[in-house]
């Protein structure tokens, strides 16, 4: 049996925008390579496309996380994240779920 991947959890605030903010939020959670990176989007009301893109870049594209899991969140933000993952060729490591965080983290 292999060891389960370590989990990093990022809870987004009410509003997020800008690549610099995504960097600032991911930086303290480094290194993310090989982790299951869970983003709790349930508190989020609005997230910009640039923030979503940089989140995918930092976690999956450059960061090399094993998985990026979005929990909840506005449809538009989820679409931004999915679009970025498609463009960057990392969509196979993205999971979107509406389920509760505890269930996702222990999955």
């Amino acid at each position: 049996m292999s060891e389960p991947s370590p989990t990093r959890t990022l809870v987004l605030p009410y509003l997020v925008a800008g690549r610099d903010l995504a960097d600032a939020m991911v930086d303290p959670l480094e290194p993310v390579a090989g982790t299951r990176f869970v983003v709790d989007c349930r508190p989020l009301a609005t997230g910009s496309v640039s923030f979503a893109s940089q989140l995918v870049v930092r976690v999956l594209d450059q960061g090399g996380a094993g998985a990026l899991v979005l929990v909840g969140g506005p449809q538009e933000f989820v679409e931004h994240v999915c679009g970025a993952a498609e463009r960057l060729g990392v969509a196979d490591r993205l999971t979107v779920t509406a389920s509760d965080l505890a269930g996702v983290a222990s999955a």
Binding site: A17, G18, D20, S50, S53, V57, D61
Partner: protein
């Protein structure tokens, strides 16, 4: 309400009068785009040590003053005859002319605008936050100078106008290395999502904004140098300005309330370039 790109751009060009750069706003309508454009021009002159003066007709004075253009110009050492206005309720003035001094400051301003529209239209409020942050943060990342933002509600028309301007490098300057040889080509590249940066997945902001305001029944005017673009439901129309704006100016128009009656799948889509 005509979009900024439909209006005469003559007032947004400075002319040299006895050693002073003068912008004449005595004729025509004033919108937030004009105000931030003037502030950006004044900022540019101040940074170069060139005197700047604004002329405004009596019928426009009240609006320009109310939107704090006079206060901004005074801080920049620019000449003007805009009187100070007493503070009072300004529900329609979502955001007076305000410098974008930092990324966090830009996010705070956008959140304030969002909060003021939230009760009337949550979807439009979210779009305004996204657009203002994308535009403001773009200025800080690419223009190399201070930008200005303003927003206003037109209650009777149930519309919001928002604008961001800077007199930095301009799109032609930033996209020359992507093959832009003039302002028109640079504006086209920007609207297609081309970025000057090699970093992955860049250049999304403007393209996403066009789709966003279109879904809300609005439009986006983009002016950079001598190129003018109006992105609306029918696509993007381009034209040249005889009086170039020495920087980049974007004004968006978003209608409030109408999209709540439209199912999501009928609202979106990508606009073609025509």
């Amino acid at each position: 309400m005509r979009d900024l790109a439909e209006l005469s751009l003559t007032p947004l060009s400075g002319r040299l009068v006895e050693g002073t750069v003068e912008v004449d706003l005595r004729d025509g309508w004033l919108q937030p785009g004009h105000l931030v454009g003037v502030a950006a021009l004044a900022q540019s002159c101040a940074s170069r040590g060139r005197p700047f003066r604004l002329a405004v007709g009596p019928t426009r004075t009240s609006y320009a003053s109310r939107m704090h253009l006079g206060a901004v110009l005074s801080q920049l050492g620019a000449g003007h005859a805009l009187p100070p206005v007493p503070e009072r309720a300004r529900e329609r003035d979502l955001l007076e002319v305000t410098p974008l001094v930092s990324p966090d400051g830009t996010r705070r301003l956008a959140a304030l605008v969002r909060d003021k529209v939230l009760a009337q239209d949550p979807e439009a409020a979210g779009a305004l936050y996204a657009c203002l942050t994308e535009l403001g943060l773009n200025v800080q990342e690419h223009a190399g100078t201070t930008g200005f933002a303003a927003a206003q509600t037109l209650l009777r028309r149930e519309e919001v106008l928002f604008a961001v301007a800077d007199c930095g490098r301009g799109l032609a300057g930033t996209l020359a290395l992507r093959g832009a040889t003039n302002d028109r080509e640079a504006v086209e590249l920007a609207l297609r999502g081309v970025s000057r940066l090699d970093a992955p997945d860049r250049g999304l902001g403007l393209r996403t904004m066009v789709a966003l305001v279109g879904r809300l029944g609005g439009s986006l005017s983009l002016i950079s140098g001598g190129a003018v673009a109006l992105a609306g439901r029918a696509g993007v129309r381009y034209r040249e300005s005889r009086t170039p704006f020495a920087g980049t100016l974007v004004q968006g128009r978003v209608r409030l309330g109408i999209h709540t009656a439209l199912p999501r799948q009928e609202k979106g889509g990508h606009w073609s370039h025509v």
